[in-house]
């Protein structure tokens, strides 16, 4: 018996009981659609988190200066003027450190023409854009010369450009920060949201020396609020963390039993935690989808078993006129397989459509991969074979005379 004829027979017999076939298929459709949809949503969320994580820059440590106290009032980290540009230079010379970016932030009103906007102004060194993986899109970066001579130049984040300039090219224009004229050196590439949801593009970068001396009049010249430190590799982040702690304790002459006057935070741990959470979410969604797939598969087995019982006489007739056991086995297996394959394809279509609709409606990112769909399709085919095999075996093992006697 040729395969084409078996396929045709299976197809006919499914077509003969359309409602039952459709209902069985529905189980499969829901299962596959659930897997595809859940994984699309899960992967989308994972991508979103991963992008936010990588937008921080890679292998990062943050060093915050210590707290100050005024009487019994204790201010938070970053308030004591304990970190200096000298510390930054010393940290930059450590073996495990790739680059260091001391930062002096402040809030300021920026203006161009009739537009103005309150934003965050960051005093930075040239390393900042590399450490934060935040390249200049047009124009020039801040140079060492700018740092040395405390020039009034600025790099604008894309949100700031949007607020101040309509259609003009900002590069070369003069804006005002706290009333002082600054020349726009360049525009930064769009970076998007940070892990905590802040708009990172709503900021202006200026040379750190300019920020220290001209913008945010500092009582302690040469101090910085925090530093970003990039380790040479992911593995080196912990070592770098220890080296920096030792170095700073030495430089700050802290007694062995005294507390640090700074804090070192390893951002790769934060990133790992965030990625792990997203991965678990994605896995859980996949698991929920898989359960529906199994339920659909059991539905198929159930229907196939009913079908075998109901069609025992037909099996007997087929055997009497020459069907071999494997012909009967193949026919029932193919019926189950067809339900799964057709159901799987429809399920993929619905899953993709559904995920797209969910993405649109809830404004979340969804991600499809050919891999996920192949897997969903493969799983549905395997489900068909797995759950179809037992009923098919039962059908094939019937003795012709008993099958024929069946009412």
């Amino acid at each position: 018996m040729n395969l084409l004829a078996v396929v045709f027979e299976a197809w006919r017999s499914l077509g003969a009981n359309k409602l039952r076939t459709a209902l069985t298929m529905l189980g499969m459709i829901i299962g596959v659609a659930a897997v595809v949809l859940m994984l699309a949503v899960g992967t989308g969320a994972q991508n979103q988190v991963n992008r936010a994580v990588s937008s921080m820059g890679s292998n990062l440590l943050v060093i915050l200066s210590g707290s100050t106290s005024s009487g019994t009032l204790r201010f938070g980290s970053g308030n004591a003027p304990t970190l200096t540009t000298g510390d930054a230079e010393a940290i930059g010379r450590l073996a495990n450190v790739q680059a260091v970016a001391p930062t002096f932030p402040g809030g300021a009103q920026v203006a161009y023409g009739i537009n103005n906007w309150g934003t965050q102004v960051l005093g930075v060194t040239p390393e900042y854009t590399t450490v934060r993986d935040w390249p200049v899109e047009s124009g020039d970066a801040i140079s060492e010369t700018d740092i040395r001579s405390s020039t009034r130049v600025a790099l604008l984040g894309s949100t700031v450009v949007e607020k101040l300039f309509d259609t003009e090219d900002p590069v070369g224009k003069t804006i005002r920060i706290r009333g002082q004229p600054f020349q726009v050196l360049g525009v930064l590439k769009k970076k998007g949201q940070s892990l905590d949801g802040r708009d990172q593009d709503d900021s202006v970068l200026v040379p750190i020396t300019t920020a220290q001396s001209k913008l945010f009049g500092n009582r302690f010249p040469g101090t910085v609020r925090f530093m970003f430190v990039q380790a040479v590799s992911q593995e080196a982040t912990s070592a770098a963390e220890q080296d920096i702690t030792l170095l700073l304790r030495q430089r700050h002459r802290i007694q062995p039993d005294a507390e640090d006057d700074f804090t070192v935070r390893n951002l790769t741990q934060v990133a790992e935690a965030a990625s792990a959470t997203a991965r678990i979410l994605s896995l859980m969604l996949g698991a929920i989808g898989s359960i529906s797939l199994v339920v659909g598969g059991i539905g198929i087995m159930n229907i196939m078993l009913v079908s075998v019982t109901e069609r025992t006489r037909e099996i007997g007739i087929r055997m009497a006129i020459g069907a071999r056991q494997r012909d009967v086995l193949l026919q029932f297996l193919l019926e189950a397989l067809m339900i799964c394959i057709v159901g799987g394809l429809i399920g993929i279509a619905i899953g993709v459509g559904g995920a797209y609709a969910v993405g649109q409606a809830m404004k979340i990112e969804v991600a499809f991969s050919a891999y996920v769909m192949l897997v969903a399709f493969g799983v549905s085919a395997v489900t068909g074979i797995f759950f179809g095999f037992w009923p098919a075996r039962r059908a094939a093992a019937l003795r012709p005379v008993e099958a024929l006697r069946h009412e």
């Binding site: 018996m1 006489r313 009497a320």
Partner: protein
Amino acid sequence: MAGRFIEVERLGKQYESVAPGTPPALDAVTLAIDQGEFVAVMGPSGSGKSTFMNVIGLLDAPTSGAYRLEGQDVAGLTTDQAAHVRNRVFGFVFQGFNLLKRISASENVALPMVYAGLGRGERRRRAVALLEQVGLARYADAQPNRLSGGQQQRVAIARALANHPRLILADEPTGNLDTATSEEIMGLLTVLNRESGVTILLVTHEHDIAQHAKRLIRFKDGHVVHDGPVTREAAA
């Protein structure tokens, strides 16, 4: 010559599911059937005639004795080989017609050819020719349940002829038919036997029907109680 067409020796069949002590359905049946014979098997219900038919048709296995088909002991056949014999050597006609309801008459006739591995076009051609032979050419595309009982039985006969069988096993083929239609069906089988030389094994409990055969085997309680040419007296 390896032997006679069908030869059974001390054939016995004891069903497992019955209470212990029940006499066997077939008890030491010994007989032979030659190519071209037209044999009627009669006997009251429970006499073992249907069991005999099922064993000869390889639908059921005997529990004792030997069954040789063209000299070969069928006990050695695998299930696939038995299926092959049913497909190529035998043709079955049942009391309840046993057509598949959801496919057309010609597809029913073509079904044994599917298992014989014939191509689609060939199957269709042969099926239509066979339906013509049984006088149903017009109904090739009709669903079986749109046909009368007699027509359905003729479709079943056409199906039995699909792969040029040498033996037709007809189990009460007229049991569900009226007298006139029964005569038509028996006429058809008689012609097949006479003109094509197909051996026919006919199980019936109707004397009029048995009259069409040439040889009569009568069963009672699993034994053969009569085996001889059909005469009015023997069939009565």
